[in-house]
Amino acid sequence: MGFLNLNASVSWWDLAKPPLDISTNGHLIDGLWNYTTMLCIFYFILVCIGLFGFAFFYSQKRNKTPYYTYGNKKKHLLVTAVIGAAVFLSIDLNIARIANNDLLNQFWKWPDPKTEKVLRVEVMAQQWLWSFRYAGPDDQFGTADDVVTNNDLRVPTGTKILFHLTSKDVIHSFFVPNVRLKVDTIPGRITRVWWEVTTPGVYDIACAEMCGTHHYLMKAKLTVYSEEDFKRWVATSEKIALNTNDPSDANLAWGWKWEK
């Protein structure tokens, strides 16, 4: 039984914590998760008090005569209605409101490359490979000077990164646990996601949507550079790309014109 040989200093709660949040918006999701969970625990404790408490105090041994009621008196209905309303008002309305605000103010507030500094990346998923495309010196996608990497995404801190994604064959899902976001890549249409990271390091990118036998191997590396390091890397890669990109290579020719 492997689970008994645990390092005593690491509790399971620590193990099951989500990976390090490296994004500017991840805390919104973590915060909402915590909020929802707290309220869930509160209501679940109430259920348990009812369940175990009543089961204990009203067992046949302790309570010989049951209370004969249909539970349709006014006060019964009132209690039921209050419970229903309390749950709805305290959890549902709140989390829906918070989520809606977060979506409108952050996650759906698409950065505009015209007015702010945005790194644009095109993502092509296929069985079982992630390909990433940077616009290159001419700032145009689908041209010969594009920097294309496979299973290797490099981004800077402090810049909003806007991804446009599609898939060649089946549906995949672009999942970066460290920024808490995922979005499906769907053949025949373009989906998008944006995030901004804060902490340099190397992280995982996973495919989260079942995409065939080797779905589990469809992982890519996310390298977060500081802004200077990223500039250096981009400069080198662009040089390499200009020298080595072969326009007749079908594997490189998947870029599309960036729209909106």
């Binding site: 492997g2 999701i29 005569t65 209370y67 539970g71 349709n72 069985q127 079942m210 191997l217």
Partner: protein
């Protein structure tokens, strides 16, 4: 189509007509029960193989490994792993839960509890089982194909489930099997809806029906409306696979595109979300009844429970989009689906208030059906509440397709329905077979199921929050997930334990069939109609159609003077 007038059908005489091509709802119910238990075992073994692979990747499976996977030295290969979780989902949902909860209890309880001699259309009922049988056969055959069975997940999203992603015949047979099963389900649905409306005993209004019947009836209505939607979806998928149409094909790999893979997801979940309630509603009904029966007091707010079930059924048709937040629907759709999803909390909270209200100030007997019913309240509490994280768009963007989702839907659909199903089996076994089940073994079975079950599914919630996503053969190729190995092996150990304790159930079931104490006509002292007749009932159920004079939960009435603490539905309500 000729309907029955609730007349007495002649008793069958041959073995063939009694047990095989039977028109008797009680026999068909037992056929469905055996069918469901067989597939439950098969799906359970698949679950264990999946769990073994997740906790000990690359380690040969003990016992079964050398038999099944001799080519790979006893290790489950990746392609087989995909088939295993696809088939596990399909089998458990369509071939285990549906036959037991809807096929077996539906067929058994509906006519007996509403005082009818049989279903409205006995022949349709017989056909319903044999279509289900045919469907199961097709599914089993698909497991034996050279390229293997379907491997695209039970949701079988295109384009993975089209020829682009799954060239083998397994996926086609999967579609055919699901279509046949849909035919069987809808036949059952026509029958249940009609029977409940037309064959209720004289005097029985809708709110005099036991809540079990409410659950089954609403389930049948949802089935009738939404199974055809899935039918249309798999029909188009079959056309795509066999005839070369392009309904769901798009992208560079499709030779002629312009189809829409996301359309299938819409169609699938328009069916799929009501399907969740199709599975859980009978269990809710059974639990609501049993809590009242074993607390010896009337169901608390029975009318409110029935109406809450109805409103959940209606709401379930409006919220399906929360399965698709990551596909980036239009913002308006996303917001609407989130808000609508949230409203399901209200009827759910009413359930819990009423369930707890029922046991409040009761005089509770902890017989095995009651234990399992209390278990349902516990696990459904956990399952329902974790749904909140998934109905909220932003948290869902992180949790979607992780094990958090797996834990959540197993708590609601697997744990609750399984425990509810066991409660029903322990409760109606005496009526079905005329024998009592062994109570000690039943209690061992309860604790042996309940404790590991929470280990499994709570563990799944934990690793899901930790970031482990679904349907991966070896999660630990991701270094960041390696820290979750201990929790994963805990889940697997729990699963093996839980699997082992199911053997107690099987032994108890088979042993009691043969050697169980003889059941009296009303072993649990409850008043619904099926307990007014001998166990097991005669072929035509009721010599005389009963006349109903009071509700199904008349227990603990202090005005009763006849030495019983309950009264039958055929008796006039005793009032002070």
């Amino acid at each position: 189509m000729s309907g029955g007038y609730n007349e007495i059908h002649p008793e069958p005489t041959t073995f063939w007509s009694t047990y095989i091509i039977s028109f008797d709802h009680k026999v068909i119910a037992k056929q469905f029960l055996w069918y469901g238990i067989f597939f439950l075992g098969l799906g359970g073994i698949m679950a264990l193989l999946i769990r073994w692979t997740l906790a000990y990747p690359g380690v040969p499976v003990p016992v079964l490994g050398s038999l099944l996977f001799s080519d790979s030295g006893g290790v489950v290969p990746p392609d087989t792993y995909s088939m295993l979780f696809t088939m596990h989902g399909t089998i458990m949902i369509f071939y285990a839960i549906t036959p037991i909860l809807i096929g077996a209890f539906g067929n058994y309880c509906i006519p007996l509890q509403i005082g009818a001699r049989d279903m409205a259309f006995p022949m349709l009922n017989m056909l319903s089982f044999w279509f289900a049988f045919l469907s199961g056969l097709v599914l089993i055959i698909s497991l034996c194909l050279p390229l293997g069975a379907a491997a695209g997940g039970w949701t079988s999203y295109p384009t993975l489930s089209t020829l682009i992603g799954s060239p083998g015949a397994g996926q086609t047979l999967w579609c055919v099997a699901i279509f046949l099963f849909g035919v069987s389900s809808t036949m059952g649905a026509v029958n249940y809806v009609t029977t409940v409306i037309t064959l209720r005993a004289p005097g029985m209004g809708y709110f005099d029906m036991p809540l079990t019947i409410w659950g089954l009836w609403l389930t049948a209505i949802l089935n009738a409306i939404f199974v055809p939607v899935l039918g249309a979806g798999v029909l188009l998928l079959i056309l795509d696979r066999v005839m070369g149409t392009t309904f769901f094909l798009a992208g560079a790999s499709a030779t002629s595109g312009s189809g829409d893979p996301v359309l299938f997801q819409h169609v699938f979940w328009i069916f799929g979300h009501p399907e969740v309630y199709i599975l859980i509603l009978p269990a809710w009904g059974i639990v609501s009844d049993l809590l009242s029966f074993f607390s010896r007091k009337p169901a608390f707010g029975a009318k409110a429970t029935a109406l809450a079930m109805t409103s959940v059924s209606i709401l379930s048709t409006l919220v399906y989009g929360h399965h698709m937040f990551t596909t980036q629907m239009s913002p308006l759709l996303t917001q609407s689906f989130m808000t609508l999803t949230m409203t399901i909390s209200i009827p759910s909270a009413i359930f819990f208030a009423n369930w707890l209200g029922t046991i409040w100030k009761g005089s509770i007997r902890f017989d095995s059906p009651m234990l399992f019913s209390l278990g349902v309240v516990f696990v459904f509490g956990l399952g329902g509440l974790t749904g909140l994280h998934l109905g909220t768009v932003t948290t869902d963007l992180y949790l979607h397709d992780t094990y958090f989702v797996v834990g959540h839907f197993h708590y609601t659909m697997a744990a609750s329905v399984l425990l509810g199903g066991f409660a029903g089996i322990y409760f109606w076994f005496p009526k079905m077979f005329g024998k009592m089940m062994n109570e000690t073994m039943a209690k061992i079975h309860f604790w042996g199921t309940m404790i590991p079950l929470n280990g499994i599914f709570f563990g799944m919630l934990m690793v899901g929050y930790g970031g482990m996503h679904r349907r991966i053969y070896n999660p630990f190729v991701y270094e960041s997930l390696q820290r979750l190995i201990p929790i994963n092996s805990m889940i697997t150990t729990s699963a093996i334990l839980m699997g082992a304790f199911q053997i107690v159930f099987v032994i108890n079931f088979l042993w009691s069939l043969k050697n169980g104490a003889k059941a009296v006509s009303n072993p649990w002292n409850v008043g619904t109609l099926e307990w007014t007749i001998p166990s097991p009932p005669v072929h035509h159920n009721y010599d005389e159609i009963p006349v109903v004079k009071c509700g199904p939960h008349e227990l603990g009435n202090p005005n009763l003077k006849n030495g019983r603490d309950f009264q039958y539905q055929t008796e006039e309500l005793v009032e002070a």
